[in-house]
Assembly symmetry: C3
Homo-oligomer: 615 residues x 3
């Protein structure tokens, strides 16, 4: 059709548009695709083709050349009849077809169809065949395959973290849904920002935890609620965006309890949100820490693995969770290291926090922030967070806070409520046994997580008979070894009475106790202390278990301040290299071997100056 009417608008269809976006009677800019005996095929965009019958052609057509056409008819079968148009003067108007974007969560219903998705690239993994892009949007995670040549990176312009628009066909591969990419476009800053904002909002909404009460009534917990919810939201978001999670925890019963509660919830959420098979093993890792803080050596190892996985498998850098650790300034060097690599850090801990750490954290739950104390243990916090991450996990883990509480000798009222909650299945005696068994097992696991064994010990594997048997065995062995250690130590205790009236017990646990075996020096000192306290019932007792370059302090009834003594010793004894700390009345001190006597003598003097608790 030759036209000289006044309608001078020519539309340009974006690749995201489909046939249903085409309106008969409108003019479109197209591209000559090819020729048939009866006419010329014209692409209106990458996906929509129409035909100019030879009787409707006005000019000589050349392949790949632009052409203006009028849509005269769209047939029922989707075929589009075109007429060529020659215009002297016209204006182009792009047609955006954003509403056609399919959500990843709906992809399963689109098998065999061509779709457009807008999403973030969470991972880019090169295989010996295609390049696999893991996509994330507000509704889910799916894979898309790009192919240019075997083993060669498809769409090298796209990087992890980019916001992209992808068109392709939805395929079912061994039951797994996947997009075979036709076009991939990294969105411009402007477009990306818009999509990102939309995605962010939707993800945040999806990640928002349910609104449920805590397992117990606790004013401290209530005051922590906003931050607890924040952590749950951040973790849920990480799961929804295929970000790996690395959970580091103190290697004692409370730390294990907290970490395992989170492990149960995160793995449950990963599996429920339909990741690839086995992805829980790649996306979640639990690691007990050697030290009671996040050591440089640990963060170096974590970063070494994370950067390798990132380089080789295109995995996101992980989110770091620290529990029963992470609140004190000793953690700062590692946190700075992690921050250099953009790894977000979240802490839920019950050690006395140093404010300075907060600048490195995305979120930080600590009872001291709200006038609580260490009696709200990490295992209690972890369990409450876990319930918000994945509510169905509650039934399995509701006994965990009670174990954590007795394990860490909490005297907070919360401990008793958590015990009350599960008393029919797990009485206090049983909880103590489980806590002791975890300590014993973890000692021999060293810094492996012992995934299934620990689950068994916590009665999480639906085999209560085996759990019971395992617990009984470990408790029996642990007690045998503690008794042997006490039998060996007690003849060597040096007992004295300090000027302030406190009983002082000293022992060299390096040469007068079994080494490299259970119980280790800290627990050995604690066990001695407990037995001595019973002996001097009601009296003030300070126990010092020392080795060549350390002293473990346990005390009762003395108004001590260990961090203050450490600071003083450090100043008074240059060249002793004193450091350490802990709680006010329980802690440990390190120094160089050659200065042990000086440190011991001065420490004892200082201890003698503290007042006793009034009885």
């Amino acid at each position: 059709m030759s036209t000289d009417d006044n309608n001078k608008t020519v539309y340009v269809l974006e690749d995201t548009c489909s046939v249903s976006d085409v309106l008969p009677g409108r003019m479109y800019k197209g591209t000559v695709q090819g020729f048939a005996a009866f006419g010329t095929f014209v692409y209106l965009n990458a996906n929509i083709k129409g035909l100019i019958h030879k009787t409707k052609a006005l000019t000589i057509h050349k392949e790949n050349k632009p052409i203006i056409v009028l849509v005269s008819n769209i047939r029922n079968n989707g075929n589009i009849d075109l007429e060529e148009v020659v215009l002297a003067d016209y204006s182009l108007q792009p047609i955006h077809c954003k509403r056609r974007t399919v959500l990843l969560g709906d992809l399963k219903t689109k098998v065999g169809r061509r779709v457009v998705v807008e999403c973030e690239i969470a991972q880019i993994k090169q295989t010996s065949g295609p390049t696999i892009f893991t996509l994330v949007d507000a509704t889910g995670t799916e894979n898309a395959a790009g192919f240019i040549e075997a083993g060669k990176r498809a769409f090298p312009e796209a990087n992890q973290g980019d916001i992209v628009r992808i068109t392709g066909e939805v395929m079912q591969r061994g039951g797994q849904v996947q997009i075979e990419i036709d076009t991939l476009k990294v969105l411009s800053q402007e477009e990306a920002d818009e999509v990102k904002k939309r995605l962010d909002e939707a993800l945040n909404e999806r990640a928002e935890p349910v609104d449920i009460p805590f397992l117990i009534e606790s004013e401290v917990l209530e005051r922590l609620r906003p931050e607890i919810r924040k952590i749950a939201r951040l973790i849920r978001r990480a799961v929804f965006t295929a970000q790996p999670i690395l959970l580091r925890h103190h290697a004692d019963a409370d730390g294990v309890c907290s970490a395992v509660a989170i492990e149960q919830a995160v793995i449950g959420l990963i599996n429920d949100s339909g990741g690839d098979y086995d992805s829980d093993y790649f996306l979640f890792k639990r690691s007990p820490s050697k030290a009671p803080f996040y050591e440089i050596e640990d963060v170096v190892r974590d970063l070494d693995y994370a950067t390798r996985d990132n380089a080789r498998f295109g995995q996101k850098m992980p989110m770091i969770l620290l529990t029963d650790n992470g609140s004190t300034e000793e953690d700062i060097p590692s946190m700075r290291f992690a921050r250099t690599y953009g790894m977000p850090i979240i802490v839920f801990d019950h050690h006395h926090p140093d404010e300075i750490v907060d600048q490195y954290l995305e979120a930080h739950v600590n009872p001291y922030h709200v006038d609580g104390d260490y009696g709200i243990t990490a295992g209690m916090l972890g369990t409450e967070i876990a319930r918000l991450i994945h509510p169905p996990v509650e039934e399995k883990i509701r006994h965990i806070p009670a174990i954590a509480g007795v394990g860490d000798r909490s005297e907070a009222p919360e401990r008793y409520q958590y015990l009350e909650l599960v008393k029919n299945e797990f009485d206090e005696e049983t909880c103590k046994k489980i806590a002791l068994a975890i300590d014993y097992l973890q000692f021999y696991l060293r810094f492996n997580d012992g995934r299934e064994l620990v689950r068994d010990l916590l009665f999480l594997n639906d085999n209560n008979a085996r759990s019971q048997q395992l617990m009984d065995l470990l408790v029996e062995e642990a007690n045998l070894m503690i008794d042997e250690q006490m039998r060996t130590c007690f003849p060597h205790l040096e007992r004295s009475v300090l000027p302030n009236g406190a009983h002082l017990i000293q022992i060299d646990v390096e040469i007068h106790a079994h080494k490299f075996t259970f119980p280790p020096p800290g627990k050995t000192s604690g066990e001695i202390h407990d037995r001595i306290c019973k002996e001097y019932q009601g009296g003030a007792v300070v126990t010092l278990g020392y080795g060549p370059d350390f002293i473990v302090l346990r005390s009762k009834g003395v108004l001590m301040n260990i961090p203050q003594m450490v600071r003083e010793l450090r100043d008074e004894l240059p060249g002793a290299g004193v450091n350490g700390g802990g709680h006010l009345v329980v802690g440990s001190i390190k120094f160089v071997e050659g200065m042990r006597n000086e440190v011991l003598v001065n420490l004892v003097k200082k201890i003698a100056e503290f007042a006793l608790e009034s009885q």
Copy 2:
């Protein structure tokens, strides 16, 4: 056909029945499957279909509804002609078709056919596609694939260890035979017991080792024969039922010899019984042990891996073999731990056994049980067991007992017979060299098995030139290092003569010997002792190599009883934490560092009280 005759029995075909179980003239209960222009299709069971021609129909048929039919004819092509029957009164009689069960060993001949198998599930492995069930019956092991949805567990009602009946088609996948499962039924207790019993008997029969003489004539071995056969049978059974085997052994030449002989046999048997490619790497693991017993730390690591493999890959919990270890009460805590997880334990050892261990063992070969002694070394026992596990292995391993014998300084007559057997290829000098080379290599391997290197050293890799060169090199290096150690130690020896006339040699091997290098303290003490014995030719000699918290004892010509001294020291020195032991005249003692002098002084006193051997 309408019928009112008196034959009121209606048969019900189990799913295991096939067309050949159908008898013309009989009535069967079927299910309407669907309709064609010419009639109604009826299922007689899940697999057998017949047709009621429309002229033979009596009622209106509804899909999936039961119907009674008479089989009027079975055509040559297997088509079944049915006539509908309407009965007022009849009795149902099930047809069992057990004889149709195919044995897994015959599966290769059934490719493309539908089969029924009855077997035990040995492993359930979820893949990103189907669920793979490893099946075991008396004749072999094969895989079956169940599919419900990609990455989802098919037949979740079935668990590892269940006895099941499976119907499906036999497929060839890349040459590997596999059943594609149609139906899987976990058998009822009663049925399962029957199948299990049959399977057990057949497996035991298949697992029964051949009846061949030992390599040498030995009364002690003859008395051990029943238990040796039992161990061979249990190991063969484990292989036939796809149970992983974990072999822990003492990390010295004798222990390595015993373990490698078994390794050769088990891997040979796995490969010969046609497991999956590479399955020998998954189903057999050899691990040298740190301590001369099965430590808690080792069992915790073993259990950690085993429970993970069980949870993630559905692998059976392994069978534990202990050799050159495992006979003494020090092993009991680990054995109890293993028992909690249902892992069977088998021991073949030549250390003086404590009767108490036997309650934890499936089988226990120990020469002391039959008035033999440590002169029948673990390597001899392991080799004889290996020959029964897989007879073709004999040719390769017949020299191993000789190496083990000289390595452990056996003075039993069996040592000389084993040497005689291979004297043409491996004379005594060569055997000694190999034993020394193994000790040296294992020292640097630490607790890795060094699979191929050790095979090379034992001349098992069909490359004798390389084996010879390796042996010569290691022997040369080992001797250089021993000489350097002796050069360093000898100036520090404290020599004295005890009241009983024995020469006492003492040395602090911690401060007067090279540390963390070959030879380690035990071997260093032994080497000193040997050289001193030569010096005081014929005299009684006691050598004590001590460190901060241990003493290694070597003695000659003194009627010592080390275990008894350990018990006494333990009682007499509370707070010394004494433990340890070993053989009567060779062993080691551990204690806490701060009590070394007391232990040494008292130990020497006790040694001085023993009588000397009459010369």
Copy 3:
């Protein structure tokens, strides 16, 4: 055609011949393949078929029987017309068609065609399906698949390292080219030698590095040029022949620099020469060494892995590269071990070389060989070699020698040239920072290579902002810890003046310094020494940092000879087990703990006897 002319030569076509080798008019010996209505098909070799029309047949044909035919015509479509010939007397003449051999580098252009290749087998890997042969010729590396039965070894007569002739079809599998093997023939010694010679020559030619100038002008480097080129050629050859490379290096900044330069080049070359995807991870491994030499423990681990990979995956035994290590006799035991397994060893080092090592090496670059010294550091050598291995790498690594030079405190003129070269991007201060940061990072990496982290620190990952941030962080932390160590150590320094006028500084770094932390004893002693030298500006200083069984020596201004002192102490103090060494004026000494005082006293006496440098 019946023929009685005089042409009695009958040709026999080898399987390597193709249709274009067939000449019309000639007679060939063929084999009857089968029959059609119109005639008889005859194979002229395994791949070429022709037809005897029934009108041209003279005898009764039997399948698989030989027959003589005359080629009457070759049609345009490749069809061959034959006439049967009956000859009483004739001679056979084989036709070799070697020129038909396809080069692996051209395989991509032959997809879908049958080819013949002559090559070396570099790897034989059994899969659960076919057997995969990795082939190497002068032009490239490709895979060929042989199939006999799933999981069974095809062509068991062929071994790794054999020269073979393979015919098969070129397939494209997921874009990867692969030969599906029809025939595989292990060539006879004679044929193999010829092929091997040709292959060798071509490989050497291909492996010959480009002729480019060094980055700087250096007479020492020029004199090293032939050996540097040789190393580059050998490494390139290893890459071209799919031989794995294991690079062991000293775990300090210079060693890391040298090794990473090589790593960049080798990985670049592997990827550019089109190995399988991910093969750089299998074919190249970088391992920091614990000791400043190649320890037995390291070579045992390396051999353990290499022999396993060889046995299980058919991989070649690796080539060993040693850098910043490997020049001294301490390396010999490990080199002998490696040689037993036929692993070639290459060294580029700047430690004073012992001539005796050269008999174990394929090539050895060391500045001392050409009157240079340690000032030409390993990192400089490694970088120059890397440029020859893979020239495009230059742009990325040209700053590495400067870092290595300042890291190792080179005072050679080359250091200043390398610094000058990159001064705009990396000034001396920055180079020092990077070197310190590497030392600090490597301390915590222990003996992991920290691949991506180290690349980041060396500004190789195209993320300069992150590299800068990482460097700054590590430098800050390192300096904090050095300062803390100095604060602890300095009060314990024992200062004295020796008879020769040198200041002697002694400190027990075991008991008067922090242990198991950064800086370790060697660096702690060096740092003390540096600070003391500043204090006694211009004076001669000797610093001894000792522990229970070692002394670290640093000196300035004293004409010491540490190796000589070690030899003397060894002779004079039998039972002290003295060993060690290093450079003339910097080094360390080891001994047994119980002899520390004797060693210290005598060492100080000896030091006092050396003259001071004239100022």
